[in-house]
Amino acid sequence: MPKDDGIGASSKRREDLRFLTGNGKYTDDINLRGQTYVHFLRSDLAHGRINSIDTAAAEAMPGVLKVFTAADFASAGGIPCGWQVTDRFGEVMQEPKHPILAEGKVRHVGDPIAAVVAETYEQARDAAEAIDLDIEELEPVVDMVKALAPGATKVHDDLTSNLCYDWGFVEDNKDAVNAAFESAAHVVSLELTNNRLVANPMEPRVAVGDYDPWNDSHTLYTTSQNPHVIRLLMGAFVLNIPEHKLRVVAPDVGGGFGSKIYHYAEEAFCTFAAKVLKRPVKWTSSRSEAFISDAHGRDHKTKIELALDADHNFMAIRTETYANMGAYLSTFAPSIPTWLHGTLMAGNYRTPLIYVNVKAVFTNTVPVDAYRGAGRPEATFQIERLVDKAARELGVDPIELRRKNFIKADQFPYQTPVAVVYDTGNYDATMDKMLELADYANFESRHAESAARGKLRGFGIAHYIEACGIAPSNLVGQLGARAGLYESASVRVNATGSISVYTGSHSHGQGHETTFAQVVAEMIGVDASSIEIHHGDTSNTPMGMGTYGSRSLAVGGSAIVKATNKVIDKAKKIAAHLLEAAPEDIELKDGKFSVAGTDKSVDWSGVTLAAYVPHNYPLEDLEPGLEETAFYDPSNFTFPSGAYGCEIELDPETGKIDILRFIAADDFGNIVNPMIVEGQVHGGLAQGIGQALLENCVYDDQGQLLSGSYMDYTMPRADDVRGFTVDHSCITPCTHNPLGVKGCGEAGAIGSPPAVVNAAIDALHRAGHTHVTHIDMPLTPSRVWAAMNR
């Protein structure tokens, strides 16, 4: 039995009380004295040359303080990119300038051209309509393949082409991979699209810039997953503000899913304009604006091939992918289709040879960056669709083909041919667990029951691997990251024994205030209610890299463990003094320090009080106080894995797919709060099922966004995502972090899309539609019906 509110307890989320009662404090709830409002005039053309912008009439409108254009930002830098990829010829990627407001050209629908600051939001919007624009329409670059054709119109005139980079991984394996295909007994290939998605967090982005002229300091309140990263990027590269004069606060944030990692132009604008106007400047995105200004996700076009020997052992994988970067490089965009995608192409299998080619392409569309899973869903979808297709073509059981090629439990640590070393895993165990929970043994009778009602039932499987807990700083530095990826924590024990923890991680739905307190409560043996978790403010938390990539517990939690251990070490010394014993003999259990083998003890608050009221204290050897900071830099990624099973029913008359059951058997290593883990998996599954069946961000050939609102962009609703069975009892703890945890935030979104599509193909094949070998996501009724009737 876990300790009450300790590690392993399904403690209720303490933050939910304020969230569910409407008492959260979000960025839009922040209203400062004298606040002004900005409205961005955004391009409605995908591509155009700006001949002139006449702001005179707008500036004369009621309430208008100033209309900004690119000319006002001559002293500022562009929005920086945080990762530089080197291509397969050893050249660095092409990196265009990303201005705060469009300079010379507009490059996507939504590109901000001018910004009107006024006393009210409506006045700013009214004035924006009076701005006179002369923009010459240019041919839009939308299709990635056409964008790379010789002579194609360029998104950036100063670059040599629309190719950001042409990446090969592992380039040295290329010939060996090709040779393996030459000698293979079977080759299976698949062309697919990984559909573009819009993150759509419930809370749209907001920024409030504030400037204090009396000490020349700036504060930015923003909807960010990583306030320190924003402070670093915006301060150092865009606005030239040193850290001690710039505070960034990300208060309660209503979901991010990756889209709130990046440094956005609107943040820099509000910070900059607040100083120019000497008044706070606020921007609140509308939902429509979010569709054309938040970074999008995915958008890959891939050909993947698998070579097998006569015994169906995987010999080699070869891929060619086009990855859409959009019009500018968002903060981590270049790393997603490369280091977060290529390194995962081994999947759960012993494929000895892998070659991944990725061409990253500029187009006249919104920038694309990480979205829940980031690179790993794209890798998993390719592998798991292809393995399924291989099983069908070879006439073997898709489960058995997977098992045959799995990395086996006794083969860890396992060096893949794509650089990463998996520390632990047991893929047969998760597969067994999933099949058991799915009652797979009785699937045939359920299939027959559906058939009797004229419905097609299918079962689809996917087994995924992901790399989380990003990441060892020295490694990512070699791979082109322009930042370290450690995490930090300060544990401040107060005089009466209560504890304030300051973490560099950021919670925007993950429940850190609950789980991080559970970790500290377990370690010290005090009640979790005496522990408070603080995050999101650069003025009181140590420099941290924020929350994404399922890293918070694995990296941020490890920093908390380190800092807490330092606290415990010092507290033991104080206890030793109070108990007149040697520190080595002091034991801490259930919040009480005792001398081993005696009945002498002092409780936690006795020690903490001594630390702050050091009347009886070894002052010559020990500083008073009890507060420690630690930074943790992981030595490897963590590798969660799992088996997902999806059972669907397909209506052959309409092509509509209903998910009847969805089973997720994950290995997340050790679990701190099972209920929160389950919730994270549910959310991930909803997004993965959303991608597979519903969501699609579509541009027409003029670069106009066709799915720019909820009238056309299908967000999953409760009745679209039901029947989840979530299990995390298969545990192979991570070997290199103190909690043995792996991370669970993205798994659901990574493993579910191929399981859903495999289930649909299974249903169609069982009904004799064997000509349907693949359907691109989302599998809308119209697409499924068209495929059946092709």
Partner: protein, 262 residues
């Protein structure tokens, strides 16, 4: 949203008078008009609310017909028409979500004539009569292509009179994102014959499927239309369905409607 003046008259006459003053527009449930004003696609100077007019509210039976005030919400119709005209009430109950049904109204939906809206299928499928402040218009004359109706400038729908069917049903295939009708078919059986109206499918808005009406009038059975098809020509093509798919759904939804009504 631009600034506007708001008036809430208590009678049709006052509403008509208010509409005569400059750039005025009637406001009913606001589920279409308000979003379009927020998006600055529409900027009336005066909004004349119709929801305070008692004579435009409610469901009342008069012999073989059911008259519904134009400002009656979908939720009210779903509840108050359920015993007299279950097919119509069920349609109202399938519109949008509870918030939309508690605001959106029959008159607003019919006046707007969205090609994917549900109500036009019921109005045309029952051969209802649209009653305005100046005249009565037969459904067959009222709908004139997407977002276009026979209404004159400043004319207000005050109510709709529905002949009660012997059997009826609305079969709606959801557009996955908006959950309007990707294709919806209203089937109504009368002593005089069967009417079939289709929404969501055609670029010309709601339409009657004459072939199916003839077949079903001869034999009110889903199998009677199994072999029929509509042409994909002038069917809507968008992210959610091709013209061929919509043409196919017209037949499928028609059959489902007949089965549900039988």
């Amino acid at each position: 949203m631009h600034n506007f003046e708001f008036v809430k008259p208590a009678s049709v006459a006052d509403a008509v008078a208010a509409l005569g003053r400059g750039e005025a527009q009637p406001l009913s449930g606001g589920q279409t008009l308000i979003p379009s004003m927020k998006a600055r696609l529409n900027a009336p100077e005066i909004l004349v609310s119709l929801t305070g007019i008692t004579e435009m509210q409610g469901v009342s039976r008069d012999g073989d017909s059911l008259t519904i005030g134009a400002a009656t919400t979908h939720a009210t119709v779903a509840r108050d028409a359920a015993s007299d005209f279950p097919g119509l009430a069920a349609l109202a109950g399938q519109i949008g979500d509870p918030a939309v049904r508690n605001r959106g109204t029959l008159g607003g939906s019919v006046a707007n004539n969205d090609p994917s809206a549900c109500y036009p299928a019921a109005v045309l499928g029952t051969g209802a009569t649209i009653v305005t402040n100046t005249r009565e218009i037969a459904a067959d004359d009222f709908f004139q292509g997407m977002f276009t109706t026979a209404l004159d400038e400043g004319e207000i729908i005050t109510g709709v009179r529905f002949p009660i069917a012997q059997a009826s049903a609305y079969a709606k295939f959801l557009q996955p994102a908006s959950r309007f009708a990707l294709t919806g078919v209203f089937v109504a059986k009368y002593a005089s014959g069967v009417r079939v109206a289709v929404t969501g499918a055609s670029e010309n808005g709601v339409f009657r499927w004459a072939e199916a009406e003839a077949a079903l009038s001869a034999q009110f059975d889903a199998e009677a239309v199994a072999g029929l098809s509509v042409s994909p020509h002038e069917m809507i093509s968008d992210l959610h369905g091709t013209p061929e798919y919509r043409a196919h759904l017209v037949r499928v939804m028609n059959q489902r409607g007949v089965r549900a009504a039988s």
